[in-house]
Amino acid sequence: MPYGLVDCNNFFVSCERVFRPELNNKPVVVLSNNDGCVVSRSNEAKAMNIPMGMPFYQLKEHDKNNIVTAFSSNYVLYGDMSHRVMSILSNTIGNIIPYSIDESFFAIDNFQQLPHTKAVALAKNIHQSTGIPVSIGIAPTKTLAKVACKFAKKLKGYKSACIINTDEKRMKALQLTAIEDVWGIGRRTIPTLKQKGIVTAADFLRLNEKDIRREFGLPLAQTWKELNGIDCIDIEKGDNKQSICTSRSFAQMVDNEEQLQTHIANFAAQCAMKLRKQHSAAQSVMVFISSNRFRTDLQQYSNACTQMLEVAASNTYEIVSAASLALHKIFKKGVQYKKAGVVLCDISPANAIQTSMFDENQNRRDKDNRLSALIDSINKANGRDTICLAAQLSEPNNDNTQPLFNNNLRREHLSERYTTNWNELLKVK
């Protein structure tokens, strides 16, 4: 059963350009949270030798003539645009396996189902309907579909779609693919492979599977198999994520517990919402905090604590309470905290929760669940954090009733939420 991959080209930059067409063919970058470093680049920015991860202040020095347009990351917009791309794909193909915000695999019965002409038409349809340019790769395995997709993106002649459907094409593609460009080959493994004289993916295939498994472990042996056309990597189970994380680096370091509690409450609330969105529940809530490791002049401290729930839950109240308790256990006075986050694990479908024999709180839990569903619907209709727990607010008596972490992000180059906020729609003269 062949696989396809749809990959959005320079996704974050492409999202911004949909609403700013004047930036087509111009260098554009999108910055990470807090406007820290470059996380998405247009082809023109790549041509200016702006590397991925370049800190914003360095970009300002590098870009002497001031021709690069930089955006703060607008995840609300990117999430919506991603959803649009995926929904067209799933309406056309049916069996899709979303992999990240800008990539989705899909499975087809055979190569005849999506010949090159149809794949080209699909890419064109997605581009026209959403404004997002995409590349499509189709091959016998997911790893080879990734290889094919790279060719579709790089070489204009493919018209955004490349199909590897014979051994000849496969070997030719692998000879032209650098080993570091193969999906699943980690950065740490590459030096060792290069020492063995392995430069291309085709070189890698000359190794023996058993040797690979012994020296590098099972995942790399799977990659080897996949490059040989044997389907063995299953990401489908990741459809519903096995862990959900919300974390941030703070623009300004935080040293008091109350303020940190507010952040953690917001992260936990956001995790709980993501959890409900995929109809799941989690049984463990982990909180982590750390100081600024670049500030060696300050006290260094980082810690994490996991709080187990008696019964897997998805309501905001229980998740936030557990996170708050976990933070209290590891909070250390006198430390300047730079980063914190909440991770939910032990995730199961909400309809398959093991209830505890000793659970006397079922009634309360039912109420909390109904309340959370109601909060979700109100927030969806009226904007994020219209209703939230008091713990999510910085100072309840203050005028500032916005959740703290929204205010605290540095987002000086933020575009409008064109597709999700009535007050920020595209303006047309």
Binding site: E22, S87, T130, G131, Q278, V428, K429
Partner: protein
């Protein structure tokens, strides 16, 4: 649920709809079909009516008076579908020479013109060298008729 009142037919609006665009993706994996779906025919969902292609439909806000003769004024909301192929006579959100503009697409004698719904504005002929694209086709316009809401 429809009641007849002279020429105007009134329908119960579907106010329970949380449909935001796009909806398809979240539907695909949804585990629990709502029992309310069985009764869907008895109410009208404006989203469903105004948004035929959720994934390619965007809303935009009118600024200025280029379509005032068409009854479209500043502040009105446009429902724009990017998936439709432009045709002669379509009202479209165009992007020309660095700006978004609301225009009719008009083909005359092998030339392409952008026409306003306001006599004060001249037709614009699209030159081959113009920086021009049809961003999306306007499918509906929404106007507020009462300032109290």
């Amino acid at each position: 649920m429809a009641t007849q009142n002279n020429q105007i037919e009134f329908f119960e609006p579907e106010t329970q709809s949380y449909m935001s665009i796009p909806l398809a993706g979240s539907d695909v994996h949804a585990g629990f079909p709502s029992p309310a779906q069985d009764y869907a025919e008895q109410s009208i969902d404006l989203n469903r009516e105004l948004v035929r292609h959720p994934a390619s439909t965007f809303y935009a806000r009118v600024v200025g008076n280029s379509m005032q003769d068409e009854g479209i004024d500043e502040g009105d909301v446009l429902v724009v579908d990017k998936s439709l192929e432009p045709q002669n006579g379509d009202m479209a959100v165009c992007f020309i020479d660095g700006e978004f503009a609301l225009k009719f697409i008009s083909q005359r004698k092998g030339k392409l013109f952008l026409v306003s719904g306001n006599k004060a504005y001249k037709d614009i002929e699209v030159q081959p060298e113009s920086d021009f694209m049809v961003w999306g086709i306007v499918t509906y316009t929404i106007k507020k008729r009462n300032s109290r809401i």
